[in-house]
């Protein structure tokens, strides 16, 4: 294994910009040497274990423009360095987008939520332990996957959409944002671009070493939630081995427009089953215009697991996703 000395703290240059322009200029000039830092809850694990590091870190939490939650003409905008605690407790979020408040409120533990930022939660790295242990697997730029091997421990890994790497998207807020059709505001010294939440997350088929569409020098600065899905009927559930301080084995985030028992439209996304939040388009199509019923729930549940390719130790995720879909449809 990689020889590790924990005796001396690593020599890392720390930048603490307080305004947007400065932060963006630093991100541009430092490029891949400038590790963006939110609350550090993902970062410090890497650094502590000496398995990833950087020569410089740009702490973003002092840029006020990227903090807080405000109402806009078409919904709300959440600054990307707002903490998860703030999001889960914010009255506006709770009133209009309770799905996100709930998802943010079950992330990890209160301590982590107090400092962990929305951007950090969305851009956090894969939680596969082979990778986290510092092994040179595909995701680390290598040429092998240790998790999907005859002896590999892959209970937490993907059942859909794997391409060489079978790690899953670990974020609880990510599927909620996909279900709410959020837009990510990505800024850089060159300007700003908007990316839908669904396209923000990237699978290993497209980029095996990064889980998001963020490029070098880019910072996620805000997340916009459109009123289109405000106050819809929401269902969120996260199944994990422990109630706190643990990642999802499978989670579901559903937003449905229901009128007189008829599901007029819906957006449903699952976490921890694929490398990106898995949008259940086929389930949504099957639900559209249907009267809510137990039979409907049964029928669409099996659609949710179609195409699943479980690994040695994660077959249990198939009934899990089916049951979560049933519960979401039942409401």
């Amino acid at each position: 294994m990689v020889a590790t000395s924990h005796d001396v703290m690593l020599d890392i240059e720390l930048y603490q910009p307080t305004d947007e322009a400065n932060a963006l200029a630093l991100a541009a000039s430092l490029g891949k040497d400038g590790w963006l830092l939110g609350g550090g809850q993902d970062t410090y694990g890497w650094v502590k274990d000496r398995n990833k590091s950087a020569t410089a870190m740009i702490e973003l939490t002092q840029v006020d423009a990227w903090k807080g939650i405000k109402e806009t003409s078409d919904g709300i905008e959440i600054g990307a360095v707002t903490t998860l605690t703030e999001i889960s407790k914010n009255p506006l979020v709770k009133e209009k987008f309770a799905l996100l408040a709930k998802a943010a409120g079950v992330v990890a533990s209160p301590q982590i939520r107090n400092v962990g930022t929305l951007a950090g939660n969305l851009a956090q790295d894969a939680r596969c332990w082979y990778y986290r242990r510092g092994l040179d697997c595909y995701r680390a730029g290598g040429n092998i996957c240790y998790a999907d091997s005859p002896e590999g421990l892959n209970r937490e890994h993907a059942i859909f959409g794997a391409s060489r790497c079978v790690a899953v998207s670990p974020s609880d807020t990510a599927p909620a944002l996909v279900a709410l059709d959020a837009t990510m505001v990505i800024s850089s010294a060159k300007g700003q671009r908007l990316v839908s939440a669904q396209d923000f997350f990237v699978g290993p088929d497209v980029n095996i070493t990064s889980m998001t569409a963020l490029e070098e020098g880019e910072i996620l600065t805000a997340v916009r939630l459109p009123n289109e899905w405000a106050n819809a009927e929401y269902y969120f559930e996260k199944v994990a081995d422990r109630n706190v301080w643990d990642f999802a084995l499978v989670s579901i985030s559903a937003a449905m427009k229901v009128s007189n028992g008829v599901i007029e439209d819906s957006r449903i996304a699952c976490g921890a089953v694929e490398c990106v939040p898995r949008r259940l388009d086929d389930v949504e199509n099957a639900l559209r215009g249907q009267q809510r019923s137990e039979q409907l729930a049964e029928r669409v549940a099996s659609i949710a697991s179609q195409g699943a390719e479980p690994l040695n130790y994660n077959h249990f995720k198939i009934p899990l996703i089916e049951n979560l879909v049933k519960r979401a449809v039942r409401g």
Partner: protein, 255 residues
């Protein structure tokens, strides 16, 4: 210049080969550009001295059967697709390349197999053999080749070695990923896997160089009639006599 081979630690912490260093891609690209540009300049200078170009009019002889032309263009397509899908992610273009890559690889393997069988049993295999006589050809302007010139044979055998290496290593790599035909076993020792990746990378670089050189010669004015024959199948009798020895190559008349 950076390294040629990249290394990593295997699961036991031992240093093993990871693959080729992709810095070499730029080295190959620059080297090929410089060499071809130099060739183009020399040819432009020489062009002022001798300029009797054989006519493409008149009687025609068959150079490539339709099936061989199909083979050539399908092979070109699959190699082009392989290079594009293989190199794009290395230079930072993001798309789901892997499935296209192995599909192009399978196409190339299949066509190559068909070509080998056809060349052994139905084509004049001897016309492609590179013998001692061929090596004298570039130094003696009175010697004309049979069906294929020294350069053409040289290019063919270089491509053969490189393509066979790409295919063999590519198929071994294909076994290491999930596909519609099997589930990966991930059973190859990491040191061997690294060697396979290295050979695949080196042969890819060679293929980039050979493909660029091949395209360059295919569009050179004095060789354009060969390229035309790869589309239409024929060259004129005039072109044949100016570039080939009729005693060594006696093709059929074209319709």
């Amino acid at each position: 210049m950076g390294e040629i081979v990249r290394y990593k630690r295997d699961v036991w912490g031992e240093e093993v080969i990871l693959g080729v260093s992709w810095d070499l891609l730029w080295v190959v690209a620059v080297a090929v550009l410089v060499l071809l540009a130099a060739h183009a300049i020399v040819m432009a200078v020489l062009a002022n001295k001798k300029m009797d170009k054989p006519s493409g009019e008149g009687k025609r002889v068959v150079r490539h059967e339709a099936i061989d032309r199909w083979f050539h263009w399908l092979m070109a397509l699959s190699i082009f697709a392989l290079i594009l899908t293989g190199i794009a992610p290395i230079v930072g273009l993001r798309f789901a390349w892997l499935n296209w890559h192995w599909m192009a690889g399978l196409l190339l393997s299949f066509i190559t197999l068909v070509h080998i069988v056809r060349s052994l049993f139905w084509q004049d295999f001897k016309s492609m053999i590179l013998g001692p006589r061929d090596f004298a050809e570039p130094f003696d302007s009175t010697r004309l080749p049979g069906k294929y010139s020294f350069e053409q044979k040289g290019m063919h055998w270089a491509v053969t070695v490189v393509v066979m290496t790409v295919i063999a290593t590519g198929l071994l790599m294909f076994l290491q990923i999930d596909s519609p035909f099997w589930e990966r076993t991930n059973s190859m020792p990491e040191s061997q896997l690294g060697l396979v990746f290295l050979l695949h990378g080196l042969s890819t670089l060679a293929l980039v160089a050979l493909a660029s050189t091949h395209i360059y010669f295919a569009i050179r004015p004095e060789k354009l009639f060969y390229t035309r024959s790869m589309f239409k199948g024929w060259i004129s009798e005039d072109e044949m006599k100016a570039n080939h020895d009729p005693n060594l190559w006696s093709p059929k008349q074209a319709d």
